[in-house]
Symmetry: C2
Subunit: 251 residues, 2 copies
C-alpha cells in the first residue's frame, strides 16, 4: 500500500492473511512492515498467517501508515524459519529499505554481493542484497528520484532474467513494484464507494473512513475485493508509487 | 537476557515496562528484540511502555528466546519518534546486530562512518553505526570470537570517552554489555528459587518453570527483583554472554 495520509491497512491485510493457509497455499510464514516517517514497525511469523496469533492481534491493532509491505510465503528455497520470512530489511543511505518477493530465481546465489549479505538462505534475500549492493556501488550518496527509479527498474529487469521476479521494494519514501508474472493494483480516491473482500465476508464503505483528499493505492498478486476494478500489470512493468500516486515504467 | 534454552522473558519485561513512565522516568518510547536462531522479532513503540497497547499485548505473548534486548527511553538527543526508538538494528557479515544504549555522548556525530548511517537523529544510533563501521573496516569477514569481543570492548571504551556508554549489543550469537555508569546482572541456574519483582506484585517460582540444565542471565541498569542477589558491574567493564554464561572483561 502507498497512501498520501496514514491509512489503516486492516481491511486488505485480512484478505491477505486468509491466503496464508486458508484461501491460498502460502502457509510458510508471513510478515508485514508499516512505515511511520523514516522508521518502521515490522512483524514476522513463520506460522501460517491464517492461524497466527500475531496476525489475529494485528487485525485488531489499527496501525496507520503511508507505506505498508506485506507478504505470505510459500517456501521453495530456504526452510521455514524466522530469518527466511519476508519482508527483508536493510539500511542504505540512512534509509530503511524493505523488500518482499514471490518467485524463484535460478542461479541468483552466484551473483557477487557488496556491503549486504543474507542472514537466511532464500533466493529472495540474496536478490535483495544484490540490488542494494548494486545501488551502494553506483551511488555513494542517494541519486535524484528519477535516476533511482530508472536503476531500480533496470535491476528488476535483470533479476527477471533469472526467473519469476514479482517484488515490492521501498526506501521509506517511494514504493516500487515489479511485475514478473502477475500483479494488479487499485487506487481509491474521491468519490469513495464500498468494497467487499473476496476471501472473507467483510464490506467497507470507504466514504465513512476517508476524507475527500485521501489517495490510497493497494497492490496485490490477485485482486483483494470483488466489487472494484483492479488494473492488471504486464510482465516486466515496474510501478513507482509516491503518496498513493502510480506511475508505470514500461519495459 | 542470554540463556542456553529458549526462555520466556515476560517476568523481567513486566518490570522494565513499568519503568517506562510509571515506576521510572523513561517514558519516551520502548522496544524489545527477541532472537530466534539467526532471525529476530523486534517491537518498537514511541509511546511510554507503562501505557503502550503493544506492551500490554507482549505481556500476554509467550515468545521464547535465547537472546533478548529491551530498552525504555528517556530522550535527550533526538525527538520522540519511531526511528529514534531503541533497540537499533543492522546486518553485518550476514548477522543481524541489535544495539541499545543509555547515556549521552558528546561529539559522537563528528565521528566518520563507513557502510552504516543513522536513520534517526540520536547519539545512540550514530554510536552503533560507528561501531559497526569500525568492525566492517577491520574485518571484511567475521574474526574469531575472542578477537571480536576484544575489539568490541575496545570500541566501547572509546565511546565511554565521550560520555556515558551503558549499552547492550548482540550479533545473534553473543550478547555484549558495557557498563558506562551503572549495570548489574543475575544468573539463574539450578537449584532454582523464587523471585519477586520490585516494580510490580509478581512472584515466580523458577523451579516450576525451568529444567535442571537451564542457565539464564538477566542484565539491567538496576535490579529487577527484590529477593535475589544481583552483581553490580564496575564502570568500564564489558560483559560477554554466551548461552547464559557470563565473562567480565575488565578495563
Amino acid at each position: 500500500m502507498s497512501a498520501n495520509v496514514p491509512t489503516d491497512i486492516r481491511f486488505s491485510f485480512a484478505a491477505l492473511a486468509k491466503r496464508g493457509g486458508e484461501t491460498g497455499p502460502h502457509a510458510d510464514g508471513w510478515g508485514i512492515t508499516f512505515y511511520e516517517g523514516r522508521g518502521c514497525r515490522a512483524f514476522h511469523d513463520p506460522e501460517p498467517s491464517a492461524r497466527s496469533e500475531l496476525a489475529k492481534l494485528l487485525r485488531r491493532y489499527p496501525i496507520k501508515s503511508r507505506i505498508v509491505v506485506a507478504h505470505v510465503r510459500k517456501a521453495n528455497r530456504g526452510r521455514v524459519s524466522l530469518e527466511n520470512t519476508h519482508p527483508f530489511s536493510r539500511e542504505l543511505w540512512g534509509r530503511r529499505w524493505t523488500f518482499a518477493h514471490n518467485g524463484q530465481l535460478k542461479g541468483v546465489k552466484r551473483l557477487t554481493l557488496g556491503g549486504f549479505e543474507p542472514i537466511g538462505t532464500t533466493d529472495s534475500e540474496h536478490a535483495f542484497c544484490w540490488m542494494l549492493s548494486q545501488l551502494q556501488a553506483r551511488f555513494p550518496k542517494p541519486p535524484r528520484p528519477a535516476r533511482l527509479e530508472a536503476v531500480i527498474a533496470e535491476l528488476a529487469r535483470e533479476m527477471s532474467g533469472l526467473g519469476v521476479f514479482n517484488m515490492l521494494l521501498t526506501d521509506s519514501r517511494t514504493l516500487y513494484a515489479h511485475c514478473g508474472k502477475r500483479l494488479c493494483y487499485l487506487t481509491r480516491r474521491a468519490p469513495f464507494g464500498t468494497a467487499t473482500l473476496i476471501d472473507e465476508d467483510w464490506r467497507v464503505d470507504f466514504a465513512q473512513e476517508t476524507t475527500q483528499t485521501d489517495i490510497v493505492t493497494v497492490i496485490a498478486t490477485r485482486a483483494l475485493t470483488r466489487d472494484e476494478t483492479w488494473t492488471e500489470l504486464s510482465r516486466g512493468d515496474t510501478l513507482v508509487l509516491t503518496d498513493g500516486d502510480v506511475r508505470v515504467i514500461g519495459h
